[in-house]
């Protein structure tokens, strides 16, 4: 029998009526990078939270280093040398890096007189692993990437032999992700065992030695990464064949629906984020804006949606020239907006699913008559949308916060598309949602295009840009560097533009 560092046998865990783990088996070998692959809600995080002592399993056994153990609390896990980097960082922003690292490790009465020595030790460790972390810095002053390095350093400081990372790349830029993955490989080469939760197939292929696929609270299979391929993984993860490439109908684009000339937008700090940007979007056309995150895409979307002030020579929607004031009531002028952050901008989380559906139209007939909401009409309408967009929800009166990310995004998409917009602004439509929902959302966007809408798609996911766009504009430091057709042979050209080379020099 193969030696393994962790063996979880027949783990069962329920939350009320929801069965999150239904008899999961998992074996992890020492020194390997082992991916846990599954859609949102497949039970990846729950399984790892059990391993880290945050939840107690209803039944099942855990063996660690060939001993049967119970992990009653995270403290037990830390003592067993298990470290975990959570998806939402477990760092106290108002404390320093060093304080965060020693937090909870000493008895209460301990006076922290040896802080300089601790900081020195952290500094040495940071240098050894090339993590570039400053122990005296306040966590709240650090970037997301740096905070993640602090989390990893925290686990290393506690002497972790097994490191669990929960979707670590979800919050990182492509370059940071790349860096992280190669760093994890180095750690594994030094003998650390790494358990890596993800739903991204490319990451699995790139970084792991073996992968266990979870679906609906069960482990479907464990395979060697070298003996599988993305298509097979996707099928096991979703339970059916997945369209890796969407069918895009050829179609002639029509006349210009939306155009903007010389748009200038400032960012939160008052620095120019969008500089003299001009573009146009035609009927029956998806224009994709590619670029590395942070190059003005967010500000561009906010300005076009009328959510921040901007300066421009001209914006024309549907042959009407718009003023700054018009921008704030764009949804009455035939525009719809699927925003970047569904939780902060797209939805009102404490509200129910049906209240979110009518968030923009509740004042209009038939949802409201003489100032009174028409509950039956609203409910019928909501049930219709839920069905049409196959949103998985128990009841439309349920709070939207209880839905998975993919289903939340479907609610936003359903609400915006059902208004039959002439012009649709879409920003990062599939970020952080699972492969099934991604496929669905992309199909809906294409269907909207085929129905005649003009669509402006902003995405940092190049694959998505290629899959959906008719024309690709590349954005760098607030400017459009050039236009490229969605031809896979020209990826390199796009990559150069994303790094700041103009069309002429690329």
């Amino acid at each position: 029998m193969k030696d393994c560092i962790v063996r979880m046998e027949n783990i069962v865990k329920s939350f009320g009526s929801v069965r999150a783990s239904r008899g999961v088996n998992l074996e992890v070998c020492p020194g390997e990078i082992h991916c846990l692959l599954g859609e949102n809600g497949a039970g990846k995080t729950v399984l790892m939270s059990i391993l880290y002592g945050l939840y107690q399993p209803d039944s099942g056994d855990i063996y660690y280093k060939n001993k049967k153990i119970t992990i009653g609390s995270p403290k037990d896990a830390i003592n067993l040398r298990i470290g975990m980097v959570h998806q939402h960082f477990m760092l106290v922003p108002t404390l320093t890096v060093a304080e965060n690292i020693v937090l909870g490790q000493y008895p209460a009465w301990k006076v922290l007189s040896d802080m300089p020595a601790i900081q020195e030790k952290i500094y040495q460790l940071s240098k050894e692993f090339d993590l570039n972390v400053h122990p005296e810095a306040l966590v709240q002053d650090l970037s997301v990437g740096e905070q993640q390095r602090v989390e990893i350093l925290k686990a290393l400081y506690h002497g972790a032999d097994l490191l669990v990372l929960d979707e670590p790349t979800a919050v990182l830029t492509p370059q940071e992700s790349e860096h992280l993955l190669s760093f994890l490989r180095e750690l594994a080469d030094k003998g650390l065992t790494i358990l890596f939760i993800t739903h991204k197939l490319e990451e699995v292929m790139q970084v792991s030695d073996r992968v266990t696929i979870l679906r609906d609270g069960k482990a479907i299979a464990t395979v060697n990464t070298s003996e599988t391929n993305p298509r097979e993984l996707a099928r096991m993860m979703v339970g059916r064949d997945v369209l890796m490439e969407l069918m895009k109908k050829e179609g002639e684009s029509g006349e210009v629906i939306f155009s903007v000339r010389n748009l200038n937008v400032k960012d939160e700090k008052g620095l120019p984020a969008v500089k003299n940007l001009s573009l146009e979007v035609r009927e029956r056309e998806v224009v994709g804006i590619a670029g590395v995150s942070g190059n003005g895409q967010t500000e561009l979307a906010l300005a076009l949606a009328g959510l921040v002030e901007s300066q421009f020579d001209e914006i024309i929607l549907n042959k009407h020239s718009l003023t700054q004031k018009d921008l704030s009531r764009l949804n009455h002028l035939g525009m719809a907006h699927i925003p970047e952050d569904r939780q902060k901008m797209g939805l009102i989380l404490p509200f129910s699913v049906s209240e979110n559906f009518i968030a923009e139209t509740y004042r209009n007939e038939p949802f409201s008559k003489k100032g009174f909401l028409q509950f039956r009409t609203i409910k019928d309408y909501s049930n219709m949308l839920v069905k049409k967009f196959s949103i998985r929800v128990g009841d439309v009166d349920e709070a939207i916060a209880n839905l998975s990310g993919g289903n939340q995004q479907k609610v936003v998409v359903a609400r915006e598309l059902d208004r039959r917009p002439k012009f649709l602004l879409v920003n990062q439509p599939t970020r952080g949602i699972d492969i099934g929902a991604t496929e669905f959302v992309r199909q809906q966007i294409l269907a909207e295009r085929d129905a005649g809408s003009a669509i402006l798609l902003i995405s940092t996911d190049l694959e998505e840009i290629f899959a959906l766009s008719d024309r690709i504009l590349v954005m760098y430091e607030g400017r459009i560097m050039g236009e490229v057709p969605p031809d896979h042979n020209r990826v390199e050209e796009i990559g150069l533009m994303m790094a700041g080379k103009t069309e002429a020099t690329a």
Binding site: M84, H86, M90, P93, L95, G104, K110, S113
Partner: protein
Amino acid sequence: MDLLPGILFLQSILAATWRMATPILYAAVGEVFTERSGVLNIGLEGVMLIGAFAGYSVAFESGNLVLGLLAAILSGILSGLIFALFTVTIKANQIVVGAAFNMIGAGITGVLYRVFYAESGKVLSLKTFQPFQIPFLGDIPFLGEVLFNQNIMVYATLLVVPLASFILYKTAFGLSIQAVGEHPKAADTVGINVPRMRYFGILIGTTMASIGGAFLVLAYADQFVEGIVTGRGFIALAVVVFGSWSPWGAMGASLLFGVFYALQLRIQAMGSVLIPYQFLQALPYVVTIIFLIGLTKRRVQSPKALGVPYK
């Protein structure tokens, strides 16, 4: 021109400032711990009243001020346990429980005072903690009178504030308190018992508030009267915010309140002023709140999990 009356006026105000600030300072320093642990106790006023009454009745019956102080501390621990039971263990709304404490504090102490003291015909005054001069330092002109001629409970604040600051920032306990108020889940994942830390935060707060209440009867006025705390519990809450949730900040903000309280007392005592005394009494409260509004524009963030029950 003769400067002497002006200097004496200033000296008397400054000497009273620290004394006036003391009860608020005790309550506020304790509440810093409560709020840093993520719990908002707006029931401080009630807790202070209960502390004041417990301190007064035990000191009066036993004739021993120290016993009175101990009784106040005990009442504070009891109040804290009840408050924590409701807000941490049962996870009731902190504002509702706090408001209940204010009403119950006023009600219970009012009833007990009337039943046992007000109509008893006894002489109700205590011999309070007396001011004493610090040798040598007390002889310094001006400063000696201002700083070194106070009673023991006022001097004690010089120990309380640095100690509180040290505990909050330089001990494992203090880090844990801060962590459960900012990001309780993070504290949980490193093995800190969040409810237990919040119990401690609350108990420190109510105990200190009770000492502040007891100060009013044992070291300031010499007897209990109904509602003797007169809003100092609420001012302490403001002082915590104004002092950006730090013990030293709370001291500064308390002294600000103290200086205006002393000023209005002095103006009232002059007698010849035409302003109605109600306006003068309101002065320190109004000024503290105006400063608070003006200065909190710096926007020191409150603890992120303040007022939110955990899980």
